[in-house]
């Protein structure tokens, strides 16, 4: 049974693309057939984060409009052979993506993959609505900060009204992925705590990903952080989140402040 999961947030820059790539890689490493799909027409990013930017020949719109077959457009990852990418178009207009075209492509993807992860663009306009329309589940990505959480709340409202599942009266499972979590700033009140965010959004938690330099490095290298053995805490958090997606029960470890030698030496407290 194939699962179409939309990775959405409302606010931009919170970690949708990074999370789509990291989770996709983690799921595929477990042997599942995974396709990550970029819905950001005009500002595509997923191919960069996946390290496939020079291999894009045909894109989503080509397939949706019938100019290319899905098999021609799918880019197989060189490191994990059950992981594929369907890139977005960079030169077309957003309106080139039609509901019928998206429905057809998603339908075709369902036939060959266990997981289809849809990387939504930011905002609540056409691209974001199309990315969520045919999804079975949603991962709502948020930073522990007020404007991100409010935008995510808005997106949750849209997931409950603008998707095919909502229109049919079916339940759409939504999970929160809290990214760029900084325990020091949460404890000091500079950023929201996990409990604050859960209280406002009231959806189950998929995972908490700590703020991490490894993620930026991974994006620039074109290798999702879960592909590296030395991905650090962030990679571990993504791997655990992927296991939860797969149905396992894994207790959520909230990233702790790490007391380094220097903070102990100089007695500097974060709070």
């Amino acid at each position: 049974m194939s699962k179409v999961i939309v990775v959405t947030s409302g606010k931009g820059g919170v970690g949708k693309t990074t999370s789509t790539a990291s989770l996709g890689a983690a799921l595929a490493q477990g042997g599942r057939r995974v396709c990550v799909v970029d819905f950001d027409v005009g500002l595509r990013n997923l191919d960069l984060v996946m390290g496939a930017e020079r291999r894009v020949v045909f894109d989503f719109i080509n397939v949706a409009q019938g100019d290319a077959k899905l098999s021609q457009a799918l880019i197989r990852d060189k490191r994990i052979d059950t992981l594929y990418l369907l890139a977005a178009s960079q030169t077309r207009d957003k309106d080139a993506l039609t509901t019928e075209g998206v429905e057809r492509v998603i339908g075709e993807l369902r036939e060959s993959f266990d997981y289809v992860l849809c990387d939504s663009p930011a905002g609540i306009e056409r691209g974001a609505l199309l990315a969520m329309r045919f999804a079975d589940q949603a991962i709502v990505v948020a930073n522990p900060e007020v404007s991100s959480v409010r935008d995510s709340d808005r997106i949750i409202g849209l997931l409950d009204s603008k998707t095919l599942r909502a229109e049919r009266g079916e339940q759409m499972d939504k999970h929160l992925l809290l990214t760029r979590f900084d325990p020091a700033r949460s404890n000091s009140g500079e950023m929201l705590t996990l409990d604050d965010v859960l209280e406002i959004l009231s959806i189950p938690l998929l995972g908490v990903i700590p703020e991490s330099k490894e993620i930026l490095r991974a994006s620039n290298l074109g290798a999702p952080v879960t592909m590296n053995a030395s991905g650090g805490q962030a990679a571990l958090a993504y791997l655990e989140a992927a296991r939860r997606l797969g149905g396992e029960t894994v207790p959520v470890a909230i990233p702790d402040e790490k007391k380094t030698f220097f903070t102990r030496l100089f007695g500097r407290r974060a709070a």
Binding site: R150, D151, D153, R154, I156, G157, D160, E199, I200, S202
Partner: protein, 241 residues
Amino acid sequence: MNAHVGPAQTLKFRAQSLLAYVLEPVQPLPEWFTALDGWLARSPTFFIARPVILDMAALDITLKEYRDLLNGLARRHIRVMGAENVDRGLVGPHLPPVVSGGRPIDPPTLREDAPAPREEDAPSVAQAAPERTESLVVDGNVRSGQTIMHPQGDVTIIGRVASGAEIVAGGSVHIYGALQGRVIAGISGSRSARIFCTEARAELLCIGGAYVTAENIISEMEGRSLEARLDGDELKLRILS
């Protein structure tokens, strides 16, 4: 410590239903006007002081012809307060506003010898649309950007009302959860409407036109169980234990 807050300004507004007469002009318009004149000859005061709506469904006319039609009606002392089924080209700032959603009711019969509308006509007409109050219960959070619009009566929310969400009710509003958005109660004109919430962090509280915004809600009330009600023209807030 004062328990009530006077609003900085009062904006009175409410929802109201009234009876209007719908005229359906047909082409050719000169002939229609002749028929209208015939009716007016029998009952010259029928349309005086009565709100009239034009149903434009049967007309295919230009803007100039529409203005001529409105002028012709004005000369006959017929004042058009709205137009329905009107083409997009016939909408503008100096033209009748577009109305829709009217329900048909049986009009009072035309009495040939009737002078201006008598007082006893008014109550029977008002009964044509009886008041019905219904209560709406929403089980779940109201998300940012969503609006719950329920002019028919009370609204109860079991969940939180997010910042950027809005509840508009004809009657009272009861929120079993945190209120971070906006609540407008009593739009039916009911001055006994109240607003209740278990955790007050509202952006705006309004009952029947009297409102307070977040700045005017004193800090002691933040996060508490709150009741808002009207006392005269002022909104009074009370902490519920």
